[in-house]
Symmetry: D3
Subunit: 138 residues, 6 copies
């Protein structure tokens, strides 16, 4: 049997800096280059949320895309859109907001919120049009 | 050995509505929202067809992309492009044309048409620039 | 002095057919080809609304983009998104919904709704990723 | 005679907030909504620089695109990429960094830097994939 | 009265090199850098053809987009797609194929071919996703 | 445990032709159609390099994206960008430059260059906006 997933693409805009507070400013600049600028920079992030699950024969859907959008907005985007990811977000406290760390943190936040109606299969986070981090279930 | 696939991206424009004829209009609107509008709406669908297979050493190709395009056009797009997916398409009779159901129906139609020259590995159907359904072989 | 405009890109999904009810079906097919299919097809339209105006020194804006978005949604998209443009839309009654006619009708609907806060400078309507109609003030 | 221009598309990532220091925080939030978040948010800005000029018959170019890219990088992007537009940029001191104000400030900075080899004809600044401000010479 | 145009986006793939045969190889490399490579490089060009004209009340169109596509294909793309622009194209003989020179040559070729049904209003030629040349009627 | 990858998208422009020197010109044209044009054509290729590996807790990264970009540029793009893939590239000598053969050759070149810091997980090579070849590790 082939495997079925659906995905929703969403965007948010946030500030961040790459910075390890245990290190000196010079050491941070050596590690993170221009991304360590103390007053931050920012991105239009693009988030793709891919989910799998049983096809409901009554609706012809795994889950309603509107429900999926609402879960991602209420559980994730409401806390990160138009925010500073180093300073404003409780669930990112102490996290250096690299694309990898953000994708893992978003996975941990969305995965239980989608169950049992859907299984998070893949989460891709574009930081710019030229790079992304991706977490997948297998 | 790494795994090799090739893919072709194609587009078609069609009308559809999400509607279960066994249910009342009110029930359809509760289930499908604005997508249940009786006179329909439509999309510029984007279809990605990914195939795997043996690399032919004479041509340096799995299959000629022109052949792949011709199969998808003659077996699929000729029946759905510039059509109403609820009313005009024989192989979709009785199918509620959600992205999931369309992707599965297209898979069933293309998979035997490509064999034995190629194996359908993945089929991704974008309904808008923000959502897709995907069927994959593994 | 250079000229300043701002623009908002928005999308909607709708069904339509190209059809002149004064002509026979054969004549419609001769004129409009596959676009004349009686049960319609559809598109994900992309609408760009460009406005000019005085820069407000207090806000640093011509107009708030949120206000611009609200006007386009309430005066235009609320009537056309997820609709059939031939049958569902009062202000398009009797209009053959070519890209040209739609762009002109949208211009006539938005231009007075934006005044006097902003002037509609250009309206571009993409029907597919490969074609658009554009109306501009000069 | 038709008119000839060439354009270069470039990107930069920056943090900003919309904020008038002469106003209270509540008043800023009323005016700028979530864009007034005190710790900022950010964008992947896309900048299009369009220039006109004489076609040099020896090179077949108005100006070398590499020269155009170097001017924009050295005179503009070097000061704004991976920076906080409210706090890090001398030529934006006291400017509320709306898309309109940024586009005008970038115009004033680039226009003399390109002369006399080229004339700045249009500058489009995309703040997100859905909105831009544009300054043009006529 | 607002001004109305329609546009068609088309693509072609071609090889070229920037080279003035009257100059030495060293001088060509100084002028054109890596673009002067003697065996050439290539691009997926994107061509946008914008036309204006009277709106035909019978069809609701300036011109049929299929006719516009056919003219561009038969008069232009048939001679340049999958070709070497320095060596294969009669109407480009002796032309150094910069984006500027190509856009002007395409304008001269298409402008009379579209008359009197339509007026060529603007021709934009993208050489890469980051640069284009544009010719416009005013 | 979910699986983590990061990816970098890069572009290059090159000329190529599809041609088997052991065959006649007529046979090449039968096999490869317009792609067999003796003087070549070309593309703006888009290359996506996906890598997996251990997340370094000190940096919050699998590998620094700048390091990944530098490896791809120095080991691959320096030899193929603005080149003729049939004639200019040592590691492609004797290779018919189909998308499949290029993707495999690029994999073989990048895979050892990234180890042991990262594992090449997937390499996608877009030849046009409508087709790609992809090599993946599993």
């Amino acid at each position: 049997m082939p495997r079925l997933t659906i995905a929703r693409r969403m965007t948010f805009s946030a500030a961040h800096r790459l910075y390890d507070p245990a290190l000196s400013r010079a050491e941070n600049e050596r590690l993170f280059g221009k991304c360590a600028n103390p007053r931050g920079h920012g991105h239009n992030y693009v988030l793709e949320v891919h989910v799998s699950g049983e096809l409901d024969p009554a609706s012809g859907m795994i889950v309603d895309l509107k429900w999926l959008k609402d879960v991602v907005e209420s559980r994730l985007l409401a806390e990160i859109d138009h925010r500073n990811l180093n300073e404003d977000v409780d669930f990112l406290a102490g996290v250096n907001p690299t694309a990898e760390n953000l994708a893992l943190a978003f996975w941990q936040r969305l995965e239980p919120a989608l169950r049992p109606r859907a299984h998070l299969a893949r989460l891709r986070l574009w930081e710019t049009e030229n790079n992304f981090a991706e977490v997948s279930a297998d």
